[in-house]
Symmetry: C2
Subunit: 422 residues, 2 copies
């Protein structure tokens, strides 16, 4: 079975807004074994929407609409679907009553327009929307044609707001769809690696995953991170799980400690988890990243147990006053240097009483450094990691613009901490 | 004239990747007076792509394809467009030669497959792609039909990578398109406001902007920010500019100092600009936001002149050691309190020697505070802003999850600084 998703709404034909529901719907449909073959984005225009619906019914088995179920004149999905299916709409008394109750609860009169939210495709099942006023409609029907075979079509009308669409789809549509589709048991795993080129990961893992044509392997390259997704669908869950686990195990053996996460955790999660396991605390002294490393760590709930905080030593003076870096060290070597990175990491560790101190100092650009740093290239970054017994310093050359240099510097810092905890 | 954008690529029918070129193309087309009526996303499948192309040619005047111009078997846009237009492809010798040169420069033999990148729609203009191997094709043609009028259609094939598509479109396609369209002069302005509900902005501004039906007004609500975009198209630029400026001036008078930016600058930009105008420096002591405020400020190139840095005082001990907050103050009132916010702002200002000190302390959740903070609600945030002469403290109650509370806290902090500099 193939599906088409129609996103209705003129705002998605402006430069400012994009359909995002289809990503969620695609994942849920793929899990059911349904491929999405087309996505159409169309404005609040009855002729356009009806034409899009007609085309979709001709080329897909399952047609999902998102949006256009509100009470305004611009909400035309119900009408367009009915026209394309050549069926009528009936006004549902139960929905009307629920609408009236919603308005009564808010003590405002219901505008007459809102009654159209009770219009239902004849034959459709109404699925209650707990988070909004427009219910979902689910129609499993047969289209008869004079010159061809009769065709089964499933038409689903979903509200546009993601907070309404997602629970409705997951809780009510998925059970209906899976009852209509061949039984299917899915197993999934995910491995993540930091700072390795996609081509390297593919060169080393493809000889393995190609031996598992029944497991769908997807390589996703993000910023400083590669994800490997594995998915297997089998007639039994045990069988699917066994195949995915076997493949994952072989990839883990090949990539070894390059893999930081085997169940979808982020690099920040893993660093905090490993600090926790060893009962260690961390503090940071950030120069060119200006707080980004600390921000990434503190975005994780519960991080305060292992991350104490630190200093943003953007000016040279603060490198001395907050992390005790000798002023003459900065003057001699420049703030972006191996000795300053070392002193920053050791200093922030001592000043905060943390088990580990991490430092980042670099030239993020677009303008070059000054004084002793004037001749150093944009993208030069030094990391320092100090413990009670030793300090490690790493020199990096990061390509790209200011945003990329800053993000990759924090990614390298997290990876340096993670590897030190192995 | 209406346009349809067809994004070709199976990866955009997965849960992981999305078409983004269409946002850029839509803005550029709107500026030319062309509305986008449909967007279609289709996989690397000749039948699907040809059908999408045929449908688009029937319902739009301008059909833009992005993607599918590479050298692989999956790159089928040229073939599909030719089939839908019922024309042939010719192999262009100049493109073939350029391809051969690219490979020779890299000292690798050209795989035979790559020659298909030289296939051009008969009659199309070839637009050179400086950033990749696939040129753009621009075809201005007339479709004849036996049962209706002949119709002018413009078909544009664009490479998928945004770094290739954008310069090609801006530099070469826009001049061709604007030569084919009625002359049009555009004026644009943008006003931004922080921390005001969209409904308030609309209630106060709509009585004004509704008097300017010839100016297109768009209200965009982002996280803690409202943008008002104004666009006017007139037969002369002076006329368009005058209308937009008149409307913008009246909205500025109505919203007064709620407007932080009148030419598209971000709140961070404006804070740094105002610090610069008054020759002031800033330092930050962040608790619950964990570096997010500093990160937002230091993301702006040149920020080091006015932002010195500061401390991430995530643990109570660091509030004392880095910002001199008396330990008994934290013990008595709790870290999330008016006196601690005040002492943090004053302390970070003194310790860093900055003109202004900003502090943020709050409960970002999802778990509640401890000790004296145990009974305080999640979302409670105190800001402190200290100058040489006085300290202002603000109590906030921010709704939402950890991410929203942290972001809005930094948004309030930036707005507090901005207003203090007015």
């Amino acid at each position: 079975m193939i599906a088409e998703i129609i996103a209705a709404g003129s705002e998605m034909l402006t430069p400012h807004r994009q359909d995002t529901n289809s990503l969620y719907l695609t994942e849920a449909l793929n899990d059911l074994g349904v491929q999405v073959a087309f996505k159409t984005i169309v404005g609040d225009n009855l002729a356009h929407l009806t034409s899009a619906a007609t085309i979709a019914l001709a080329r897909a088995d399952i047609v999902l609409f998102s949006g256009g179920l509100g009470p305004t004149e611009d909400d035309l999905t119900r009408e367009a679907a009915a026209l394309a299916l050549n069926i009528t709409l009936r006004r549902d008394p139960a929905i009307l009553e629920a609408l009236a109750k919603r308005f009564a609860a808010r003590q405002i009169p219901m505008p007459p327009n809102n009654a159209k939210q009770a219009d239902v495709l004849t034959g459709a099942t109404v699925l209650d929307n707990k988070n909004g006023s427009a219910p979902c409609q689910y129609l499993d029907t047969t289209l008869f044609s004079s010159d061809g075979p009769s065709l089964r079509k499933i038409v689903i009308l979903l509200p546009g707001p993601p907070k309404e669409l997602k629970p409705l789809f997951a809780e009510q549509v998925v059970p209906l769809l899976s009852a209509s589709l061949p039984p299917r048991f899915l197993a999934k795993r995910q491995l993540r690696m930091a700072l390795i080129p996609e081509s390297t990961v593919d060169a080393r893992t493809s000889p393995i995953y190609k031996q598992y044509p029944d497991v769908e392997t997807t390589i996703l390259a993000g910023s400083g991170e590669i994800q490997l997704h594995f998915l297997s669908a089998k007639p039994s869950l045990a069988e699917a799980q066994a195949r995915v686990d076997e493949l994952t195990g072989r990839i883990e053996a090949e990539m070894d400690d390059a893999i930081f996460s085997s169940h979808g955790e982020s690099l920040e999660d893993i660093v905090l988890l490993n600090l926790g396991i060893r009962d260690l605390t961390l503090a940071a002294a950030e120069s060119c990243t200006g707080g980004l490393l600390s921000e990434r760590l503190t975005a994780i709930p519960g991080s305060s147990r292992y991350f104490l905080g630190g200093a943003i030593v953007y000016s040279d003076a603060l490198k001395t006053s907050f992390a005790g870096v000798p002023a003459d060290l900065v003057a001699t070597w420049g703030p972006v240097s191996e000795p300053v990175a070392r002193a920053l990491a050791e200093g922030i560790r001592t000043r905060t009483g943390a088990s580990l101190g991490i430092s980042i100092t670099g030239i993020a650009g677009p303008t070059p450094g000054t004084g002793p740093d004037a001749q150093k290239p944009i993208g030069l970054v030094y990391l320092g990691l100090a413990s009670a017994t030793s300090t490690e310093v790493k020199e990096l050359h990061i390509a790209g613009d200011r945003e990329r240099i800053r993000f990759w510097a924090t990614q390298h810092a997290l990876e340096l901490i993670r590897r030190s905890l192995l």
